[in-house]
Symmetry: C2
């Protein structure tokens, strides 16, 4: 068994080596109010993280390290959590995929708009209307989007850099601690494992005339450890494990559960991640697979993941209360 990471040193590192975003307290209060409001209304609340983190190589940043992630999994999962009656805090990378709108991000908006003038008006004046032959789902999606908006069921929070992500996640965990086991964490963001501490970062753009680039990057503190132990100890916590090598996947998921003592790991392989995942818990291991029939019917794997985890969350709440 692995040694448990020392939580206190992680908290210290977080405040020393990662710049605190100026709006973190304001966002924390907003998240806390959102969680209280929905918990009082009898809803569970899920914090979804989504998209990749940006790791600057220079303080006046021209270059950065990034993690592959469109934010698709987080954005679609948010929709299924909303359909399951959850309120959703969506902590996502700026410009990554967003719930509902994600369905239209592959089209150029100007290609699906057309003018509809009054009788006798010029062809390019009057109303600007969506061509619903090109975007057949738009009315249905807009209706659902407006329901979610009217119910203020979705609270979007943006991050760009790794530092912003880490501090906002800590704030979220503390904000959700007041609703105890009714909170779920669904940590789907692709977070960098490596960073350059502010103190070791060059101020200016690295000059290519200085020759080849040698980068020495430190390991990012494992924030899952204080999150589970200190910040939100009663919550249901799900982390994600993405590998490219399937042979080490389940072992790595089990080791994460042993180390951090949280509730579930969604394990997936880069190439097959849209059709196959394994939900690993301390006692169970569930393979979720989309069949050809599912794919034909446009079923998304996130529908299955969310369904699996919301059931587990309900059981978890009952056990905590019992």
């Amino acid at each position: 068994m692995m040694a448990e990471p020392r939580t206190s040193s992680i908290e210290g590192k977080l405040s020393e080596e990662f710049a605190v975003p100026s709006h973190v307290d304001e966002v924390k209060e907003k998240m806390a109010a959102f969680a209280r409001h929905h918990a009082e209304a009898g809803r569970k609340v899920v914090l979804i993280t989504s998209g990749g983190t940006k790791v600057p190589l220079e303080s006046r940043t021209v270059r950065f390290l990034d993690n592959f992630s469109s934010g698709r999994r987080g954005a679609s999962s948010a929709e299924y959590f909303l359909d399951s009656g959850y309120a959703v805090i969506f902590l996502h990378r700026h410009r990554s995929l967003y719930p509902y709108v994600r369905m239209f991000l592959t089209v150029n908006m100007l290609d699906v708009l057309q003018f509809r003038g009054a009788e006798g008006a010029a062809a390019n004046s009057g109303d600007v209307v969506i061509n619903q032959q090109l975007l057949p789902n738009i009315a249905k999606v807009l209706k659902r989007y407006n329901e979610v908006k009217d119910g203020t069921l979705l609270l979007p929070i943006e991050f760009n850099t790794l530092s912003e992500y880490l501090h906002l996640l800590k704030a979220a965990a503390q904000a959700l601690s007041s609703i105890g086991s009714k909170a779920m964490f669904y940590l789907a963001a692709a977070v960098s494992d490596f960073y350059i501490p502010a103190s070791e970062m060059p101020e200016h753009k690295i000059q290519s005339s200085n020759g080849p680039l040698q980068l020495s990057m430190k390991m990012v503190p494992k924030i899952l450890s204080p999150l589970v132990k200190d910040w939100a100890p009663q919550a249901f916590v799900t982390s994600f494990k993405l590998e490219t090598d399937s042979s080490i996947l389940i072992d790595k998921a089990r080791r994460a559960l042993d180390t951090y003592r949280h509730q579930a790991v969604v394990a997936n392989v880069l190439d097959s991640r849209r059709g196959y995942v394994v939900v690993v818990t301390p006692e169970t291991q569930a393979e979720l697979i989309l069949t050809d029939e599912d794919v034909k019917n446009e079923v998304e794997i996130e529908d299955r993941i969310v369904s699996n985890l919301t059931s587990a969350h309900t059981k978890f709440i009952t056990q905590q209360e019992g």
Copy 2:
């Protein structure tokens, strides 16, 4: 004076160390046909590169190095070139800002749509219409977008990785060589100076359990050299120089002109890039500045840059023909 880079070794490196995209010949033929068509119709043609390049750290890529660039400069410049009568090949990073649509990328599309039913119809059925109070420019922009589209004046080509960028730029240069001095290159993309050769790249995701990350990156070959000398020797070529340190900017621009023997460098500093640039040519140096009045009137610096360069291009063509 700096030694001139040896072109032949650059071409060799390009084919050996950077994977050739499978569709490069098809794209090249499309660009060549586009250039021929518009040159015959009496138009000049500009190749704009835009957005940052992605440099993978693993062959099954989870992590990559990126360059800061929203693609704003390239996308807005494309509009001004079109307004100046140019046909535009827009070689841009996938999902970077796009001409015309760029104006609406800060709004969530679903927030500006509303239902407009026929008399007596339900409030959420019928037409889906843009709320023009929230998007007051949409009709004007849509009209212009449709004109450009109907005239097939804009040819978009996408890249993601540095390899794709390099090979597609080479293909573009060769495709445009047939129209001689009527071609302009406007190389606004933020291209990485460093890369990891395919032969030195790990196949799988780098494991964080192996400890801190040491990266050793090689220098990207200076493609401007064969572009100017071999691929499109008659074209008007503009490169961009972005620095964070203004004290070295003009010197670096002059050295680039000395080294590559092209026509112009647009020099800019990260913090002031939206309001101040210097267009440096072998004989001249023009400071372009937006005044407070300009900013109030929503003048964009790209309007000035394009105006400066299209004049220079016209003179250049006359000199070549004379």
